[in-house]
């Protein structure tokens, strides 16, 4: 917020964040599905961990990704906004 971002900086940061969140998205999906058998032994609140992840956990992570993205992008957009108001 302290200094104005140039268009290029804005895009670089956007791209980096997109990449980070996509990696998180990929890891969540892949691990929940690929290691499902290994995770069965663990349990959260009664669910076997693998079932919980596939039924709720992964989807909630996706929701969190969307929330973080919308919030961080708003900050980025504001940081790069030109000071004079546009018509």
């Amino acid at each position: 917020m302290d200094k104005r971002l140039t268009r290029q900086d804005h895009w670089h940061k956007t791209r980096r964040m997109t990449a980070l969140l996509l990696i998180l998205w990929l890891l969540t999906s892949f691990c929940a599905a690929f290691f499902a058998r290994e995770l069965t032994g663990w349990s959260v609140f009664g669910w076997p961990l693998s079932f919980y992840l596939a039924a709720q956990g992964a989807s909630l992570v996706y929701l969190a990704i969307l929330a973080v993205y919308a919030w961080r992008m708003r900050r980025l957009d504001q940081a790069s906004r030109t000071p004079e108001p546009r018509a």
């Binding site: 997109t18 998205w25 499902a36 669910w47 079932f51 992964a58 990704i65």
Partner: protein, 685 residues
């Protein structure tokens, strides 16, 4: 910001009033039911009240303004856009069949939950905000502009890309819309007793009044109302069942406690000698069919003579008319030729073998021996991948990113979309477990003389393809689990009765299923007719058309497409319905690479996009034709044992590869295109 805030508040109060009104309607109906109103009237009332409601909303938001018609004036607040998109997204399949699918397949069915929610990450991160910044009307618009090509600076360069995108949009959306209209007919006919095709045309009328009069604007406001109905209809039975079985009315939390109990019960049933007896009977029946198949054509000949002889003997001994009819029917149903016998008996053998299978454990991922288990895991991953990429490329969902007031609102809107979808999707696995728990404990082990009412009701709904069947196979008078077959489509519709709720809730669930099918059909029809009118007619045929003319053409095309889809649905095309899942692979392979690379890779050019779309589509279609028995393929042709529904796992990489290779081999995009990319990437001012 001031006016949009008041607009938001006004909308909020409208919809709160609507919800309150709907609650009063429910209470009034429940009271009427107590007073003894017949069931069929409740069905009628629900059906007509909701259809009239949607039609009224459509009439109130009628418009012939281009901006309003195509993108709802770009002023739908994020939260409401999210609600409308969620209704757009939750199709008849999600509402009616998904919980049933989870009931039947246990863990492996969760691929749909993961895939259909994870796709929104791709929508938000890679596509939606950039489409909003681009601010046009359709998906082909974006692709055509982005891949305009240097050859033709007049803006016509994207012709080929536009045509390909339109074709993809239509193929993907059409199979999908037929399935929705089919579901409308099914629900309407089941709950009101009207004929299937009458049901279709009633549903069609409400779809048309809505989208025909007001386009995107009308369907947006209708979809918000439909979402509220869907949510209420889905949650009430689930909450009720959850409170009944676990003293915790929040199903999403409560079923964690029930899952271990269900697994324990499965284990008991698995080792029950009576269950083993029933399964052995089915195995024996399958073996009998196999024996007859082995001795074809002699066995066919012998069987035919035998059936004929039976008919003659009942006629000779002057048996009752009923017996003669039964013998006649048996002769008519007997295979007409040895080939037909082979097919019929193979089917019967497979059905019996399937019923002889041991219980699928609900919570265990990828059950089976190590090799089968690995194949199941790979298919799970592939399916999740295809559903995600397909979600991120469905035109009727992406189209909705054009309707918000700003890019930021689009991002927030995707968040709300997933939020509202999750309210339903987190309940679906819970509902499957709750119903399974109920059936395994209450129905299994009960006495055939005292079956609950819903059993006989649902067993008699469709005689040809029974949705629910139960018969005392081993004749011990007690219900065994192996004696029950349940169709995925019946589970949600029957839940209120299974839970012992009043009939008014059954009507509500049917209205919810209707809302889910209608809202999705609205969005899809608009996606198809916009692609035809905006992209084909306006952009390719008549560039000089007035805005008035454009909207009129669009409405006429909508009408035409709707009737074609309704006609297709009224022929009950089982094959089309089974192909709906394939739409995701096709959308993902054809549109997703071009959309995502269009934003993130400047070097992608027109030739690359054309190659990518063609290759992605071709690979997908080839794989499906090659491996799907319905399309004349054979399961033996599968690569890495991947099921045909996940053809996108090969199609998407092929499409990406084609874009990259062909783009690098041909000229880079011109300055104009690069400027466009910079523009859509730039922050909003």
């Amino acid at each position: 910001m001031k006016p949009s805030r008041t607009f938001f508040q006004r909308l909020r109060s409208y919809y709160l009033m609507f919800t309150a009104g709907f609650a009063c309607f429910l209470i009034a109906l429940a009271a009427l039911e107590q007073e003894g109103m017949p069931r069929v009237w409740i069905g009628y009332l629900f059906m007509f009240a909701t259809i009239v409601l949607y039609a009224t909303l459509g009439v109130l938001s009628r418009t012939s303004n281009v901006l309003e018609y195509y993108v709802a004036g770009r002023r739908v607040p994020a939260m409401f856009n999210g609600m409308a998109t969620a209704a757009d997204w939750i199709s008849a399949a999600s509402f009616i069949s998904l919980a049933g699918g989870l009931y039947l397949h246990g863990f492996d069915g969760l691929a749909y939950i993961m895939g259909w929610t994870g796709g929104y990450c791709l929508v938000a991160l890679l596509i939606a905000p950039y489409l909003r910044k681009f601010s046009q009307y359709t998906i082909p618009d974006f692709l055509a502009e982005r891949y305009g090509g240097a050859a033709n600076p007049a803006g016509n360069g994207g012709r080929a890309v536009r045509v390909l995108a339109v074709i993809a949009t239509i193929i993907v959306s059409f199979t999908y819309v037929v399935a929705q209209i089919y579901a409308v007919g099914l629900i309407a006919s089941r709950f009101t007793g009207v004929d299937f095709s009458v049901g279709i045309f009633l549903g069609l009328a409400s779809i048309l009044v809505c989208s025909f009069l007001g386009g995107m604007r009308a369907i947006t406001w209708t979809q918000v109302a439909q979402y509220i109905i869907i949510l209420v209809a889905f949650l009430i039975p689930a909450v009720w069942l959850s409170a009944k079985h676990s003293d915790n009315p929040i199903p999403q939390v409560a079923y964690g406690k029930l899952l271990p109990k269900l697994s324990a019960r499965e284990n008991v049933l698995q080792h029950d000698p009576k269950e083993a007896e029933v399964r052995a009977i089915f195995r024996q029946r399958a073996a009998d069919y196999q024996a007859r198949i082995n001795t074809l054509p002699a066995s066919w000949e012998a069987g035919r003579i035998d059936t004929q002889r039976k008919l003659d003997s009942v006629k000779l001994r002057n048996a009752s008319l009923l017996e003669i009819r039964a013998a006649e029917r048996a002769l008519i149903a007997y295979p007409k030729s040895a080939d037909e016998a082979l097919r019929a008996w193979s089917d019967a053998r497979d059905q019996n073998l399937a019923r002889a299978e041991p219980i699928t454990p609900h919570a265990t991922p990828y059950p089976g021996d190590p090799a089968t288990s690995d194949i199941k895991r790979n298919n799970f991953l592939a399916l999740v991948f295809c559903l995600m990429l397909g979600t991120a490329a469905l035109p009727h969902i992406l189209m909705r990113s054009y309707t918000t007031p700003s890019v930021h609102e689009t991002r927030v809107s995707v968040f709300w979309t997933l939020f509202f979808i999750l309210l339903i999707y987190l309940t679906i696995p819970a509902l499957a477990v709750l119903v399974k728990y109920d059936i395994y404990n209450a129905l299994v082990g009960s006495d055939y003389a005292h079956l609950p009412n819903w059993v006989s009701y649902w067993a008699n709904v469709d005689k040809l393809n029974p949705l629910f069947s139960i018969s005392d196979v081993n004749r011990d008078g007690v219900v065994q689990l192996a004696e029950i077959t349940i169709d995925a489509d019946v589970l949600v519709l029957a839940t209120p009765e299974i839970a012992g709720l009043p009939y008014v809730i059954s009507g509500l669930v049917a209205a919810g299923g209707l809302a889910a099918a209608l809202s999705t059909a609205d969005g899809l029809l608009l996606a198809i007719s916009n692609a035809l009118s905006h992209d084909v007619y306006y952009k390719l045929v008549d560039r000089a058309a007035s805005t008035q003319k454009r909207v009129t053409i669009s409405k006429l095309l909508l009408l035409a497409v709707a009737f074609i889809a309704a006609y297709a649905a009224s022929t009950k095309p089982g094959d089309i319905l089974s192909l709906v899942g394939a739409a995701f692979s096709l959308a993902g392979a054809t549109l997703f690479p071009a959309l995502a690379l269009g934003v993130f890779w400047k070097r992608a050019n027109q030739q690359g996009a054309i190659a990518g779309m063609v290759v992605g589509f071709t690979v997908c279609v080839y794989y499906m034709l090659h491996t799907n028995p319905i399309l004349g393929g054979a399961a033996g042709g599968q690569w890495f044992h991947i099921a045909p529904i996940s053809a996108g796992i090969f199609g998407v990489p092929a499409g990406v590869l084609a874009i990259v290779i062909v783009s690098l081999l041909t000229r880079p995009p011109d300055k104009q295109t690069l400027a466009l990319i910079d523009y859509i990437r730039a922050p909003e001012q």
